[in-house]
Symmetry: C2
Subunit: 598 residues, 2 copies
Amino acid sequence: MTSYQAPLRDIHFSAFELHNFADHYRQLPGAEDLTPELCSAILEESAKFAETVLAPINSSGDLEGARWHNGLVTTPKGFKQAFAAFAEGGWMGLSYDEQYGGQGLPKSLETLTAEMRSGANMTWSLCPSLAKGAIDTLKAWGTEAQKQTWLAPIIQGRWTATMCLTEAHSGTDLGLLKTRATPQADGSYRISGSKIFITFGDHDWTDNIVHLVLAKLPDAPKGSKGISLFIVPKFQLKDDGTPGQANNVSCGSIETKMGLHASPTCVMNFDDATGYLLGNEHGGLQCMFTFMNTMRLGTGAQGVIHSQIALQKSQQYARERLQMRSLTGIKNPEGAADPIVVHPDVRRMLLTQKAIAEGGRLFVHYMAKQSDLRDRAQCEKTREQADQLLSFLTPIGKAFLTELGLEAASLGIQCFGGHGYIHETGVEQNLRDARIATLYEGTTGIQALDLLGRKVLGSGGQLLGLFTRQVQDFCQQPHPETIQPLTDLLNQHCQDWATMTQAIAEQAMANADEVGAASFDYLMYSGYTILAFFWAQAAELALEKIETGDDCDGFYQAKLETARFYYARLLPRAQSHRSAALAGADSLMKIAESGFCF
Amino acid sequence: MTSYQAPLRDIHFSAFELHNFADHYRQLPGAEDLTPELCSAILEESAKFAETVLAPINSSGDLEGARWHNGLVTTPKGFKQAFAAFAEGGWMGLSYDEQYGGQGLPKSLETLTAEMRSGANMTWSLCPSLAKGAIDTLKAWGTEAQKQTWLAPIIQGRWTATMCLTEAHSGTDLGLLKTRATPQADGSYRISGSKIFITFGDHDWTDNIVHLVLAKLPDAPKGSKGISLFIVPKFQLKDDGTPGQANNVSCGSIETKMGLHASPTCVMNFDDATGYLLGNEHGGLQCMFTFMNTMRLGTGAQGVIHSQIALQKSQQYARERLQMRSLTGIKNPEGAADPIVVHPDVRRMLLTQKAIAEGGRLFVHYMAKQSDLRDRAQCEKTREQADQLLSFLTPIGKAFLTELGLEAASLGIQCFGGHGYIHETGVEQNLRDARIATLYEGTTGIQALDLLGRKVLGSGGQLLGLFTRQVQDFCQQPHPETIQPLTDLLNQHCQDWATMTQAIAEQAMANADEVGAASFDYLMYSGYTILAFFWAQAAELALEKIETGDDCDGFYQAKLETARFYYARLLPRAQSHRSAALAGADSLMKIAESGFCF
């Protein structure tokens, strides 16, 4: 029950059939030679790595957990070896610059392979995922010398990296942080302070760890405009660039937490550690956002992954577990009972998981494609538009997909009945591991404020319009009769999106709390509408394949039925979010602070 | 952060102000002397026990866990002593017959005290909760001799009890079970088989454990009509009724599970163990339902408990944690930031928890009152009506409240941000412990089928009508202007409930799968409407208190605001459930069994 099958078939459908990555790569500078055959070979190798190296140590890693002893962290059996194999295979550098030892392939291809690794073993995958944030940050803000020194070993999988952001009293509010950086005569800095929640802050995998640490300079302005980012290695470097003496960086303890047991969540103490400024003085917030935007895209994809794991395990169990007879007559006369997949309510749960996993995948791949365009497109206008679309979609992708990922993971347990509560089925670990996703890299509430406050209202509706025009263009195309009811509904949701936005904007002019009060439900409405956009496209493509006789295994028919399910049974939730988003701030703000509990 | 405060103020509001338990007890045979003062004294003692004995060992119990060694189970530090104190205090027998050593008080009072114990330590409380199911079953089906022998020691807290129902291949489908009972010449039976998921199947608390075991007699009819129930003690009794030699009952192992770590979930092996028939031959299913109905009421209350725990911890954290400034201006100028309770989205989460906890409590107390009436009312018609109401409400109370309890528990983590994922805050344990509640004693899917299939359609709508007439009567009373918008909405929901039921009934005549396809969303719609009924009553009562100047601490104002929140932001969900319930079976049944995953 705990094994993992990489969903290659559906990844192919989403990326290459619907989003047409083959054409996309042909036109993308530097990716012109990336043929569909080459992509398939890479994806198959990646699937093999996920299924045979990472999946077998997922459940054992959870039971064993990371250990802290005398300031040193060890990870469960097989974890270190898996990272060595990963580095050896050149996977860390897949989408990074060849001049630093990477393979220079597009980020979207990295997204496809990362899904499989994280699906097989989310906990192990956290460390390479964090490295991606660090790589993008070093690339964007490092000097050429810093890139040669710090970036190359990370890209080559020789070292790993962290982001040291949170302090006990300072999470979302970075202006409150206390870690100090004191300039030294040689141009370096002495860093002192204590950080918490540092994922893989220490481990036994590599001979160095590069910490990116937010700290304040002595003359720092108050608040979040006064933070700077520093490179602080676990070991200082010798003249030849290899790790030398220890750098006053130590792991004080690791947390006991709900899930991700194999991932050490470290308290990291910096005690006059030597660090090097990355980017500008007091420019740490901007650097941090480079890191954060990479991580948020990856976290949104985790929602898809948790849904996929739940779906895989649940559907297998539902087809094997015999219990009760179908109400419409015996379906499995040879057995003592029918498989529970005959019961409508079990199907409701499986279809919910499927609609989230596969619809979410379409959404994630759309963003991955925009990410390629933002980074590499020839035309500046295309790059700009992609950047704007990503800026609008990232908070939705991050928060909506992880919220739905939690639901799907919880339904994974529900499909197993009491057995789902037991470790060996793997579904309870999936929920425990998934539960972090709506919290880290900015909670759902923070994403919602970012979306409605900064992105939508902050752009005067311009970013919203950029996306909804695509939806409207799609709706206005001619559609087959079977699909038209879906696109009609989609079109209606798209119009309601605009009028809802307008209504909230007007409320917000009178009271700033109206933004926060509407934000969560606004984000959820947006997410359901976006998923409807992708499900309508999937349905139309599936229908085309069915009608041209290309559906030998029923893949497209199942896709079409799932789209119908989504529209009939999940999309109605958008309306309840719309009602709540329009309910106004009074329904939240009038109760006294002391009134919540007596 | 892990301590627990018994919500005495809100328990009093619900039971004594809204549901008027004082008058209710005055009219209830055997409870006439139960004055409000006496009730208060009992509740305060119960709160003290929960807060000082049970709460301190909740978190440590989770970390330590139950242990199995060589067939024997030990529970974490303090658990055995807590049970001894509980038994010593006479709490086990609070609502049971004085002739067996109980105190003869109404069940509803037991419900009030049980909430506090379970809130303080759900895991410990599972064992006494199970005893309640066993007591009701022994009371209903035992001979007088059996009651003297087995019931009295359980009521007195000298022994505990279990229900041994599930087998590895037989959960919901009891007809599949394989445990055998062979009649002996002396009237006893030899029981052989293996049961799983037996909560507190073994432990170190008492010198005997009474297992109620479902098994099949040699001549049993097929299916669920062929099961019988047996009393099988861990130790056989000597002539004086005290435990003697061991009875071939052994605990083979305990499960590693998501939560409830301190509660041993046992594989129980019966190897020619001596048992005694309880109730009629082949009448086990009926006996099991006596047990199950008691447990389902208690499990519904757990949804309230998980919400209450989440609310308590979250609101305390939200008032202490300083992070960011309010968008409408600084609220805490002395501090480095404002407490997060100023942010609208944090309030949305707190109000959701509060609306579920306190609305759910009103629902649970209503059912507890009906439970008293069913058991004790003078007039047969009252007893019958209470029985019918309970029969209708039990599946909703069980499933809806536990589903919402999960949501509230998950929001409890969300309010803490990343800190919520860490064990020491207590909120992640709350979700792990809560996650069982929608699974055991019949999953949500099973409750939904029971509600729509057996109770609503099975009674030709009669049971639904019995309840909705109360709602309509309330709506038709004159209401203050402030309350009228709520009762108008409630009335509309009540009418829609009836028309939706009619529509599903018509669909179901053509296709039996329509019942299963609509059932989950039908149940959720019902739950939201029922909670709206109770919140409207609470709002009206609160307004009355405010207007008569009785709101010195803001309790009633907060109640009124929470009612408004519920109507504005949670009740809209009922509409999306209605849409889904009416979507028809095709949206679930047309996809092929092999189509869920490729």
